[in-house]
């Protein structure tokens, strides 16, 4: 299937072959050295259920994808041929995978770019320690704003299934939070269980973290200073993701739904319940334009008779979320430090179009989009707000203090995950204490709404 011609030939045969009854008589995998047989056997089983040739091709591809997902092979080649030999059946086929195992130790480094900061991650990875795709990873992050991190993680697919895996991680991280005037050092450990359901992808995680908060300088607000010190969080987190978008940076169709529930209160002195939702829908319009709707919201409530620490609260604002405001510039502030809210919501409406006059169409120009947007959101504290009894006045105040901004700009795709935006924004509704940034705003990052 390498040259163009061969593809053509295959295509001609396709119609006849497609309906031709066929089955897989043998699956051959060559190139295995350290990998145990059973994990491969489990993954190639679906091939044996193929009933015609088209089916074989499709299933062979699917199996190849799954093997790829295990992350233990650096190359996988599929060869399908009629079965030859003594026991060969007329309709029997051989499917042969020629694989090359990844090295025992892989080293890599990544750069991550965010708003006004960047970091570099080095990691050492051993992808196949015991022969069943057990991964051990050691990583070190070094970044601006005193970001340092060191972690050791283990990951093992359960039952050879790359979608269902168990993970464990221990780490130490530190970083500055200049918008809130504090720095934090974390030591933590976590256990993950990730699995697929009919609804989407689930991740269940237990996390125990010791957080040490300190004021960044003597100018930090006393409201932040009060929260300095040690806290211990032991929480259970459930994350659900369903993503049908065709692209993560500039999608043209599909939806994303992400929900997170965190229950902190199994030991430790950080006790809260946190629930967050993100939703995004994309619809292609004529003239290669796309309309996008984003909604997000979250609420965190203290459990028992405690308060929620600043590090567990919600922050809103920035050039990639609620545009027209500085990073985390919305919501309660004290002496210029963002204190965070216990509830937030935001929505955005975008219209993406190709650049005017379409320069570099079909090539370089596809990295760019112009967009028009309206963002609205709010972040604050809603006291006495509970599910059964909505305190009307607070709720009203919350609604009345909504922020709104609109503008237009250019989006540049950076790789497959990140984007850069250069916008001209006008924040039209703002509140006292907000840190707004009207006019031209530049944003780089991987999380955007």
């Amino acid at each position: 299937m390498n040259g163009n011609e061969e593809v053509q030939t295959l295509h001609l045969d396709w119609e006849t072959l497609y309906s031709k009854p066929a089955f897989v008589q043998r699956v051959l995998v060559s190139g295995l050295k350290r990998t145990k047989d059973d994990i491969i056997t489990k993954n190639v089983k679906p091939l044996l259920q193929a009933e015609n040739f088209g089916d074989i091709v499709k299933k062979a591809e699917a199996v190849s994808d799954r093997l790829q997902q295990l992350g233990i092979f650096s190359r996988i080649k599929i060869e399908i041929d009629t079965c030859k030999g003594a026991n060969a059946n007329d309709n029997g086929y051989d499917v042969r995978y020629v694989v090359q195992e990844s090295g025992r130790l892989k080293m890599g480094y990544y750069t991550m770019v965010g708003q006004n900061d960047g970091s570099l991650e080095f990691n050492f990875r051993s992808p196949n320690v015991l022969g069943r795709a057990e991964e051990v990873k050691l990583d070190y992050i070094y970044g601006t704003k005193h970001t340092r991190g060191f972690g050791l993680s283990l990951k093992k697919p359960l039952n050879g299934n790359p979608d269902t895996w168990f993970g464990a991680r221990a780490y130490r991280e530190q970083g500055d939070y200049p918008w809130s005037g504090y720095k934090e050092t974390d030591h933590g450990a976590g256990l993950d269980l990730s699995f697929l359901s009919l609804l989407g992808n689930h991740n269940l995680r237990w996390e125990g973290v010791w957080r040490d908060l300190r004021c960044l300088s003597n100018l930090s607000s006393f409201r932040v200073r009060e929260q300095a010190g040690h806290s211990l969080k032991s929480s259970l987190i459930h994350t659900y993701v369903r993503d049908t978008r065709d692209d993560m940076v500039l999608p043209t169709r599909g939806t994303l739904l992400k929900m997170t529930q965190e229950y902190a209160g199994i030991g430790g002195n950080a006790n809260f319940f946190k629930h967050g939702v993100e939703f995004q829908a994309n619809q292609a319009l004529p003239l290669s334009s796309v309309v996008q709707v984003c909604l997000a919201g979250g609420i965190v409530r203290p459990l028992r008779d405690t308060t929620v620490n600043i590090t567990d609260r919600y922050f809103l604002g920035g050039p990639l979320t609620l545009r027209g405001f500085n990073k985390n510039g919305i919501g309660p502030h004290s002496d210029g430090n963002a204190l965070g809210g216990d509830v937030y919501c935001m929505g955005g409406l975008h219209l993406y179009t190709p650049l005017p006059f379409r320069p570099g169409s079909g090539g370089f120009g596809e990295l760019f989009r112009s967009h028009f947007f309206v963002n609205a959101g709010n972040c604050g504290n809603v006291e006495n707000f509970s599910l059964d009894q909505v305190n009307k006045e607070n709720w009203k105040a919350f609604q009345n203090s909504l922020r709104l901004s609109y503008g237009l700009g250019v989006v540049l795709r950076l790789g497959s995950l990140a984007r850069l935006e250069l916008n001209y924004v006008l924040p039209v509704w703002k509140q006292a204490g907000d840190s707004a940034s009207p006019g031209v705003q530049l944003g780089v990052g991987i999380s955007f709404l």
Binding site: N218, E226, A228, L232, G267
Partner: protein, 259 residues
């Protein structure tokens, strides 16, 4: 010891506002006695000046403090931590106890304050953190008292390491306990001789030195610990004992009665 007033910019503020707060750890369960001595010194000083304040117990007082040490006071927009900066700050507000002293006396006052800082404070740290009996039985439990496992083990150990480093830097770590006792003895002897039979160190009126000496000596004398060598040393100096009683009667009896 570190940090002067956090924001040194005197506005047109009232001389002593009503809501001045002094932050320290919880007295009954949490505070370790070097911190308690520091806190008591500051409180005695403020009583001597006749200034109103309220004590706020906070689990994280140490981490909140701008200098990382307790106590610290919150007065208007200002935060000032530790004894000497607090004294200096209160003076800039127009209250002070050493206005009547000559320049030579003022320099002597400073020297004795540093003597307490370099001898008694280090001796207290040594006793509470480096003497295994005291560390295991008292200090460790108190320092971690307000935290859940495993922080109640990690935090005292972390603090132990940092105190060890601090004492190593000032060459106290490698002293034997007997040598430490000798230092305390030298210090008490000097204080006792300097005090003589006067009411206060510099005559008839108290100064910040009297507050500081009272805070440290009375804490060492009254705290119940597995090792009482320091208290035994102090009991040998009559002038100091009389002095402690006098201050206690003058500033703390009234306080007790008012409750």
């Amino acid at each position: 010891m570190l940090m002067e007033a956090v924001k040194i910019e005197m506005g047109a503020t009232e001389r002593w506002p009503d809501n001045v707060k002094l932050y320290q750890q919880y007295q009954a369960e949490q505070i370790t006695f070097p911190d308690y001595a520091a806190s008591l010194s500051v409180k005695t000083f403020l009583y001597m000046c006749g200034l109103e304040f309220s004590t706020v117990p906070k689990i994280n007082a140490e981490e909140m403090s701008p200098s990382g040490r307790v106590p610290f006071i919150h007065i208007g927009p200002f935060l000032v931590s530790e004894f000497e900066p607090i004294v200096a700050y209160v003076q800039t507000r127009g209250f002070g106890l050493n206005d009547d002293l000559t320049d030579v006396q003022k320099s002597e006052l400073k020297a004795y304050i540093k003597l307490i800082g370099s001898t008694l404070v280090n001796a207290e740290l040594y006793l509470s953190w480096l003497v295994p009996e005291v560390y295991e039985k008292v200090t460790k439990a108190r320092y971690g008292a307000m935290y859940a496992w495993p922080l109640n083990c990690i935090l005292p150990y972390q603090k132990f390491l940092s105190v060890q480093k601090q004492l190593a830097a000032s060459e106290w770590k490698n002293k034997t306990f007997a040598e430490v006792c000798e230092e305390v003895e030298t210090c008490c002897q000097a204080l006792n001789d300097r005090l003589g039979t006067q009411n206060f160190f510099f005559g008839k009126k108290p100064t910040e030195l009297d507050a500081l000496v009272f805070g440290h000596i009375s804490t060492l004398l009254t705290t119940d610990l597995p090792r009482n060598e320091f208290a035994d040393i102090i009991r040998r100096y009559d002038n100091l004992l009389v002095f402690l009683k006098r201050i206690d009667a003058e500033y703390f009896d009234a306080l007790r009665n008012s409750y």
